[in-house]
Amino acid sequence: MSGERHANADRAEPESARGDLSRFQIGHLDVLRYALAIGLQRPDLIAQYREPDCQGANAPVTFYVALGQAAGRLVDRDELAPDGLPLAEDHGGLRLTAGECHVTVARAIRVGEVISVRRSLLGQACKAGRSGPFAVQFLRRSYADEAGNVVVSEDYSRILR
């Protein structure tokens, strides 16, 4: 998977509604690695992904995760914090936990195509919990093909406390 980052991508996580953008060329080995990593129970698809000429083959539904998690994280070793995550994702010592994710799938991502991942912050809220105050961030990652059509949209939240 070859990836590159574009303008407004100076932080690993989005700061604005406009968000940042990463582009990925989807190779068959990227999809094969992902399929094997999740233990995909589809020997027919695994065999297909092994072939370099499987251009156009549908990737597993959740393959977008490999793009979304890598977007903004292709950094040098000296840009990693002690926890292994990029320094740019430091949240001032706050612990970050995943909230809910809501994914809409228009079609499968395909081997050979270029997918652009745009991440944006939709909003945030401060709340009072039993163990103290915490913040909830609402974010979106959109995965679009070269024609600009969004093939997968991922709304997710995360909690900082």
């Binding site: 233990g39 597993p60 292994g84 995943a98 994710c101 994914v103």
Partner: protein, 141 residues
């Protein structure tokens, strides 16, 4: 494979080990130590290495996708949230149950919408670790 009708259930039992966590981290280029460095995970307050949330999501969603594909169908959306940590070498029971099937709004003559509840459960701990729903589109038979 069991037909997708109301109340039908499918299950996958999996025990992710260190190699599984490493392979998933590698596939995502994700260097977060809580998934492969036990000493760091302990120092960070975890009982053991944490199974990635998206890996649990993938177990559940791909389980459903395989089921739908058997009826010429596919997933159109899903949502899930993690409600408790899942740890390495711990059995996860991933289950999907059909909660609804009805003619699709578009092309009701040929397709049905199917809704499923999904859950990853830690039987030893007696708790769910990930819960959610999946919506699919399948051909009418």
């Amino acid at each position: 494979m069991t037909r997708l009708k109301h109340g039908a259930t499918i299950e996958r039992r999996i025990t992710p080990d260190e190699a599984d966590l490493f392979r998933f981290s590698a596939a995502l280029f994700l260097p977060h130590l809580i998934h492969y460095n036990a000493a760091y995970a302990a120092a960070d307050g975890h009982a053991d290495l944490l199974v990635h949330g998206p890996l649990q999501g993938a177990y559940l969603v791909e389980l459903v996708e395989r089921w739908l594909s058997a009826e010429n169908g596919h997933i159109v959306g899903f949502r899930y949230r993690h409600v408790a940590p899942a740890y390495v070498n711990q059995l996860l029971v991933c289950q999907a149950t059909v909660t609804g099937r009805h003619p699709a709004r578009r092309d009701a003559e040929h397709f049905d919408n199917v809704e499923l509840a999904v859950e990853a459960r830690d039987p030893a701990g007696g708790r769910a670790t990930t819960v959610g729903t999946v919506t699919g589109l399948v051909g009418r038979t």
